[in-house]
Symmetry: C2
Subunit: 331 residues, 2 copies
Amino acid sequence: MRSTHRLPNLRIAVVGTGAVGGYYGAKLAYYGRDVHFLIRSEQERAAVRRFGLQIKSRKDGFRVARINVHATTAEIGPCDLVLIALKATANDALTDLLPPLIGPETLLLTLQNGLGNEEFLAERFGPHRVLGGLCFVCLHKTAPGVIEHQGYGNLALGEFSGYPLPRTHDIAWEFKRCGVTARVVADLAEARWRKLVWNIPFNGVTLLATAQRPPDAPPVSTADILADDALAYLTRRLMDEVIAAARKLGHPIPADFADLQFKRTAEMGAYLPSTLLDHLAGRPIELDAIWGKPYRQAYNAGAEVGRLETCYQLLRRLTASANNGSRHPIP
Amino acid sequence: MRSTHRLPNLRIAVVGTGAVGGYYGAKLAYYGRDVHFLIRSEQERAAVRRFGLQIKSRKDGFRVARINVHATTAEIGPCDLVLIALKATANDALTDLLPPLIGPETLLLTLQNGLGNEEFLAERFGPHRVLGGLCFVCLHKTAPGVIEHQGYGNLALGEFSGYPLPRTHDIAWEFKRCGVTARVVADLAEARWRKLVWNIPFNGVTLLATAQRPPDAPPVSTADILADDALAYLTRRLMDEVIAAARKLGHPIPADFADLQFKRTAEMGAYLPSTLLDHLAGRPIELDAIWGKPYRQAYNAGAEVGRLETCYQLLRRLTASANNGSRHPIP
C-alpha cells in the first residue's frame, strides 16, 4: 500500500459523463475521491446536481448524492488525473476541452474504445502524460445520471509510451481502493488488440445482422449470433482473422484465445454491444477506432484481412449518414 | 451454314418459362422453330395461350402469337433439345420433370446461373447429353407472358464434358439463325467463373447494401455501388478476390478483366440484378449456385476467399427465411 503516499489526494476530472465515465467516476466519488464531472448538457447537469449519479446493478448498485458537476473544463481547472470517456468520434472536441485541465504533472487516461485515442492525445498534449485504460464492462446509460450496470467492470491500465511506471500501478491501486478490479498491462497496444479480438467481430456482426434483419424483428444479440450457423461461422472466422493480424503485428495472442472468447460470450447471455445500441439510437459509432484503424494497421502490415475489410466497408456504408458522411481514408 | 442439314427440325422444350426461358424460347419460336413451353401455372398458361409471348424492348421487341403451351412434360414428350431455365433453387423438380422429355439423343442445355447445374443434370441423366449456356442479358418478367428486355442478349455455349463438339456449334448456329448472338466457349467451367467474376460481387453487394438501407430508401443499384466509396471499394476488392480464386482453380482470367467489368458496369447504368429483384419480391435466390458452391470450390483449392466468405455468410443469414431455412454445408 506504499502508493497511498504518492497520490495522497488526487484531483480527478471526468470528461464525457456517459456510461463509462459516469460509472468509473462514480466509483471514485463514492469512495471519497475529489472527482469533477464535465457535463455539457444543461438538462443533464441539473439532473445530476439534483439526484446525483445512480448506478443500478443486480449485485452492487449505489448512488452518489453529491457530485461536482461542471459546465466547462475551465470551471474545473487543473487536475492530477483526467479520465477521458467521450466517444472516439467526438475526439476533435478534446483539443479545446482538455487544456484548462492540464498542469505540468497532469496525467491523461483514455478509457475509450479501439485504436488511435492515445495517439490523438499524445500528439496534442505530449506522450509522457498519456495512459490507456481498457474497460471490460457492460454498461448502459438509461437516463441523465442513471447508469445500468449489466456485468463485469474490470479495468486494464497501461502506459502509452512503454512499460508500466510506478504511477501506472499507483493509479491502478487508486481504482482498486475504490472497488474497481484494476490491473496493469505490460503492453497497452497488445491489450487493445486483445480487446479488439472480441469487439471487431461481435460488435460488427451484431450491427450488420441487425441492419439486415426483417422489419420489426428484434436487434441481433451476441446470443443470436451463437445460435445462427451462418453468423456464428462468420464471427468465428473474423475473430481468427483478427488474431492472425494481431500476431502479424507482433502481439503474441495465444492459439486458444478465440475458443475462450466464444466460451465467455456464451456465458454472457443475450448482450447488445454499445455500438449496436448507439446505432439503433441514431448516435454515431466508433467506426474508425474499432474497425478502420485496426483494418489499416493490419493491412499495411501485410495481414490477410478480407473479412475485416468486408465488414468495415459494409459498416462504413451503413453508418455513412449517422457519421455525417465523413470519409475514412482507404489504404 | 452446313449445320442446317444436321439439325433440320429440332424439337425443343423450354423448362422454366420465366424471363430467361421465355426470352430465348420466344426467339426460337418467332423464327419458326418447334418450341414447346412447360408452364406449370394454370393462370399463366391461359395468358400465354391467349396473348402469346411478348418481348418488350426499346430496340427489337416482338410478340409470338401462337405458342405451344403445356402443363406437363409428359404432354410434350421426347425432344431433341431441352432448354432448362428454372431457378437453380428449384433443381430438385427436374428429377421428375425431365424424364418424359428425354430420348436417346436428347441434349440438355442449362441456361441457369452459377455453379453446379451441369453437374446436377450429368449425375441424373448422363454427362454426355449436358451442355451449359451463359446468358449475358438483362431481362425482367413483368406479367404472365410479358418479358421486358433491358439490354444485351448474347449466349455463350459449352460442353459439360470437354471441348466443343460439332453439335455445340450446331446449337449455337441455330440460336444465331434466330437472332441470338451466340458463341461457343472452349472451356465451360472457365466461362462460368468469368461470369461469376461479375455476379458474385455485384449481385452480392447490391443485395447486402439494399438489405441494410434505411427504411423507405430505394434498392441499391449497380450505379449506386459505383457512386459510393465504401461499396465500390468492397465490390472491386471482392472481384479481385474472385479472379484470384478462379486463377487458383486453373482458369486463366487476364489481369485487366476487373477493369473491363467495372467499365462495362458503368456503361450499363442503374441496373438491379435479378437476384435482388427476386429477393425483394420474396422469392428464393440462387445462394448456393452463385456464392456457396464457388466459395467452397475456391476454399477447398486453398484460395484466400475471406471477402466471399463474409458476403456468403451474410447472404445466407439474409435469405435464411426466403430459402426456407435450408442449411448449406460449411467446409
